[in-house]
Symmetry: C2
Subunit: 125 residues, 2 copies
């Protein structure tokens, strides 16, 4: 329950009494209804309760943050959600690895050319 | 409902009659209870129904695949779920971009050295 006795965002949206020990209140302040609405839309109240209770109190803030991120991703992309972001990042990693391999090969080739030039006292490539 | 009239994995686990038009049956075959159990554990039946109905039929297979992936990630990592994978990939992208920038700078430096050497008819760096 928030300090000024107003119900937290979760209890406001679920139209229930916000108790002193409300599980959601520390993470869903009354002034941000959207945050809870998103998580509730994707995961539901029962699952959210279970996921919070399953981890130690000091980790719950991070659980909420990651669930908000996942819920937003699902609302933006109803087919792939977070997995769409993962796929794009995997493609980016793969492309960067290829570019890096090409660059490293170019460096190696130039170093070998340079060594050859020095050894032969020759400036031709 | 599966071809041999046995209920799909969802209806089996939810202990309900599997109808001819069961929304879940095409994606949760009777022989893979674990797949539905995972998605159900994280998203719940009501939200899964809503998420499937919100997209065209031809996209539902992909919705299920991405939800199974997300649910597995959440079960493996109850604090960060998919977001943990995204963070790791973002770190990997950032490291690769740095390595690529270093390699490209090295290539540029070597090319400038090479051009200088050619222009001066000199083999010293």
């Amino acid at each position: 329950m928030s300090g000024n006795c107003s119900p937290c965002a979760s209890c406001k949206l679920l139209r229930r009494r916000c108790s002193q020990n409300c599980l959601f209140a520390p993470y869903f302040p009354a002034n941000d209804l959207h945050k809870f609405a998103m998580v509730h839309k994707v995961f539901g109240c029962k699952n959210l309760t279970k996921m919070l209770k399953d981890v130690p109190v000091e980790k719950r803030e991070d659980v909420v943050k990651s669930l908000v991120y996942e819920a937003n991703a699902r609302v933006r992309n109803p087919v792939y959600g977070c997995v769409g972001i993962i796929s794009n990042l995997e493609i980016q990693v793969s492309e960067l690895q290829t570019q890096l391999a090409v660059a490293q090969t170019e460096i190696l080739t130039m170093k070998m050319q340079q060594a050859f030039t020095f050894n032969n006292g020759d400036i031709s490539p």
